[in-house]
């Protein structure tokens, strides 16, 4: 079920009340109920995929237990490989099977050999990329002896299936989330209030920003041959805000929901569009995924502690795999590759850790230099998003070609200009609020510092709800983008 649906509006309070009033009696009951509610949540899309979730859970739990008792290095490695093969095998089959089949056939036809084949009608299970990586982090950490394996199957099942972050992250590490299932959660009112505030902000980002930008991004990308270069630039801009509002909005709702149940999830977005260079952007965008690749792929490959050639290789591997994780399409690989090219100069000149603080910290306005850095970094990411959004490589190429034609210098022409302007104004207002709140976990986290009296805070929340109601886009057809990954 979607977070912005009536089903979730019924599900969440029901689960909340049962969790805190009935199952609060003991820890086991609390965890069992989390598993039960999470399986209902996941099964709502398609109950058949519960078996995959269960399979991943059982395999990795068993591997963890066996790793604890196994001391021989080769046998430990074998156990790890079982987990890797099963999890990545399932992910590979559901997500990449048709991609490899099609490219295999294309490669052979290039050499004049036609292989008769059809594609398999495979439905991609929602969230498989997320929970697969989450369970893999557990078995890898147990293998590395960074984490003691759990003997509590229910706690582990709850960790794997925890519904707020099951289908679109944040991808939690076992070292951070699993211990939270070992002790009974006690209701914390400030945490719950914080959670609800974050849910509200997440809904605003999704329904007002992302879904309104989506209607124009879809219009321009789906009919790119009909529009001028200047209009297509707008399309890329709209998509940039769509994907940010969509994904960071979902993360906010996930983190806020987890807080309602007494859990802390890690921040997944740290105002990435205010980054001063690409390296900072990648420290602030989809943090849970980029740190996962850093810890489980980049560092094992040697990271930056090797010769220059290998460093470059490792950077490319990380970004290309990151792109490929997003989907079985060459466009995602191209997007990853482009970001690697952006990142490499900073990395090779040791300037990839220049900006570790908050931009214009403690100030209202950035400096001119910061404005230029932020704008140029933003434009680079917008350009890369074209590949991410395009249907295929030829679509991306034709989109970019049209942008860099003489029609770039014409006034954008399309129907619905007034509505587009309204959306841009909404985005501008949103960016101002985000800017003012950039030193917090999410923009309105510290609203109580500005609006000290509860009356004024509630007025603000009601105002946000009214804006969501009147300015939001409630079209059925706009789903969370990251559900397709």
């Amino acid at each position: 079920m979607l977070f912005n649906s009536i089903d979730f509006a019924i599900f969440l309070p029901t689960v909340f009340l049962i969790y805190w009033f009935i199952t609060n009696k003991n820890l086991k009951l609390q965890n069992c109920f989390i598993v039960f509610a999470s399986y209902i949540f996941y099964g709502w899309w398609d109950w058949r995929f519960l078996s995959l979730l269960l399979c991943s859970t059982v395999i990795d739990y068993t591997v963890g237990v066996k790793l604890q008792n196994e001391h021989k290095a080769n046998k430990r490695k074998r156990l790890l490989w079982i987990s890797l093969l099963v999890n990545l095998g399932i992910l590979g089959f559901f997500k990449y099977c048709n991609f490899f089949l099609e490219n295999f056939v294309t490669a052979f036809s290039f050499f004049g050999t036609n292989i008769p084949t059809g594609s398999l009608n495979i439905i991609l299970p929602v969230g498989i990329s997320f929970y697969t990586f989450q369970t893999l982090s557990y078995t890898i950490d147990v293998y590395r002896r960074k984490l003691k394996p759990t003997r509590d199957f229910i706690a582990f099942a709850a960790f794997v299936s925890f519904f707020p972050q099951l289908v679109a992250g944040p991808i939690e590490r076992a070292t951070h989330l699993l211990p939270q299932f070992y002790s009974k959660r006690i209701f914390d009112e400030p945490k719950a209030v914080n959670g609800m505030r974050q849910i509200l902000w997440g809904l605003f980002k999704k329904i007002v920003i992302a879904d309104n930008c989506a209607q124009f991004a879809n219009l321009f990308f789906n009919n790119s041959q009909d529009y001028s270069g200047s209009t297509l630039v707008l399309g890329a801009l709209f998509f940039s805000f769509q994907i940010y509002g969509d994904f960071s909005g979902y993360s906010d709702i996930a983190i806020g929901t987890a807080r309602l149940f007494g859990f802390d999830l890690k921040q997944n977005f740290n105002f990435p569009y205010f980054s001063r260079d690409i390296a900072e952007f990648w420290r602030k965008w989809h943090i849970s995924l980029s740190t996962w690749f850093r810890d489980y792929l980049y560092i094992p490959l040697g990271g930056s502690r090797c010769i220059t050639g290998k460093k470059i290789r490792n950077i490319f591997i990380i970004f290309l795999v990151s792109g490929f994780w997003h989907g079985a399409n060459w466009t995602f690989i191209a997007w990853g590759g482009l970001n690697a090219i952006y990142f490499l100069p900073l990395f090779l000149t040791n300037k990839n850790r220049t900006y570790l603080d908050v931009v214009a910290q403690g100030k209202y306005f950035p400096t001119l230099k910061e404005i230029i850095s932020i704008s140029s970094t933003f434009m680079l990411t917008v350009f890369a998003w074209i590949f991410f959004r395009a249907e295929n490589m030829s679509h991306a190429a034709s989109y970019i070609t049209e942008i860099f034609s003489t029609s770039l210098f014409t006034i954008p022409e399309f129907s619905g200009k007034r509505d587009a302007l309204k959306v841009l104004l909404l985005v501008a207002s949103f960016l101002i609020v985000e800017w003012l709140g950039r030193e917090s976990q999410y923009a309105i986290e510290k609203i109580s510092n500005i609006l000290k009296h509860q009356f004024f805070r509630w007025t603000f929340y009601i105002f946000v709800l009214i804006v969501i109601y009147f300015s939001g886009n409630f079209s059925k057809s706009i789903e969370f983008i990251y559900f397709q990954f």
Binding site: I10, F187, I462, Y469, F474
Partner: protein, 297 residues
């Protein structure tokens, strides 16, 4: 926890009050008259605004006009299920105009209003029925269509209040479509056409709904008669036989379709605009329709 629940309850109370205000506004602006339905007939007319303009003219022929502005096949399916459960319906006249399977109708419809007529029989589960019929129907905050109507109303009020509004004087009322100049008629017709046919692809969801309607009527032995409403000559020229062929589905199922698209092609005085009849045209059309039907019998 108690303090938290108290705060949440208070907040929900405020939201409920806001919902109440919206409910009142929605009732006045949107739901009024839509829920009216006489249960004493055995024949009903189901259409969108094209049928709504016929008002009560069909009643003297024993047919209740159950049309609603912007009604889609999603809404008509709910209404038919309602009629089956509440009346002894034997005959349904249903629109099969070209645009009824357009994607425009998928987005612009009366799904929020027709929730009133939802029955458990056409829902996948009782949970679904409860969710839509009681929760979504009473919580205006969950109704995107109603929201659009209220928003439009508020914006039009703001525009009227605006001092800079130079368009205070309403457009001069025309008695009928023929009073517009030829260029005006073409412009208006083109705008309407672009709105009704935004793409070449039909709405498969609406198509499925029409198939469900056909199956429902077959199951309950209801005679289904398809009607294609009259269009002005300007609009017919633009359409140039473009249509999404809902009528084919009815014909394949063995039901008859009556095509009156061109009956007033020479007579713009029967039209309010490019594709809606005025009162004079409606009365004439109703006479022709039932005269024709009685001859066929």
């Amino acid at each position: 926890m108690k303090n938290f629940l108290l705060k949440v309850s208070l907040f929900l109370l405020i939201l409920s009050a806001f919902n109440g205000i919206l409910w009142f506004a929605a009732n006045q602006l949107y739901f009024k008259h839509y829920q009216n339905c006489s249960l004493n007939y055995s024949a009903y007319l189901l259409a969108d605004s094209h049928g709504l303009t016929l008002k009560h003219f069909t009643e003297k022929h024993g047919v209740y006009n159950f049309s609603g502005g912007s009604d889609s096949y999603f809404d008509m399916k709910r209404k038919i299920s309602f009629l089956i459960s509440k009346t002894d319906v034997k005959k349904i006249y249903i629109t099969v105009d070209g645009h009824t399977l357009s994607q425009y109708r998928e987005k612009i419809n009366s799904l929020d209003r027709s929730l009133y007529f939802l029955t458990p029989e056409i829902c996948n589960s009782y949970y679904e029925y409860f969710k839509y019929r009681y929760l979504q129907f009473h919580v205006i905050l969950f109704q995107p269509g109603t929201r659009a109507v209220i928003k439009h109303y508020l914006l039009s009020k703001l525009r009227k209040l605006s001092l800079k509004n130079k368009e205070r004087n309403p457009e001069k009322a025309r008695a009928h479509w023929g009073e517009y100049s030829a260029n005006e008629r073409i412009d208006r017709a083109k705008r309407r056409f672009r709105r009704q046919y935004p793409s070449e692809t039909i709405s498969y969801e609406l198509r499925q709904s029409l198939i469900d309607i056909i199956n429902l009527c077959k199951k309950y032995n209801i005679e289904l008669i398809g009607i294609k409403f009259p269009l002005s000559s300007d609009y017919i020229k633009l359409l140039s036989n473009k249509a999404f062929d809902g009528e084919k589905l009815l014909k394949l199922a063995g039901f008859k379709v009556l095509d009156y698209t061109k009956i007033f092609i020479e007579n713009n005085s029967y039209f309010n605009n490019q594709d809606h009849l005025n009162d004079k045209g409606c009365k004439k059309f109703v006479e022709l329709l039932f005269d024709n039907l009685s001859k066929r019998q």
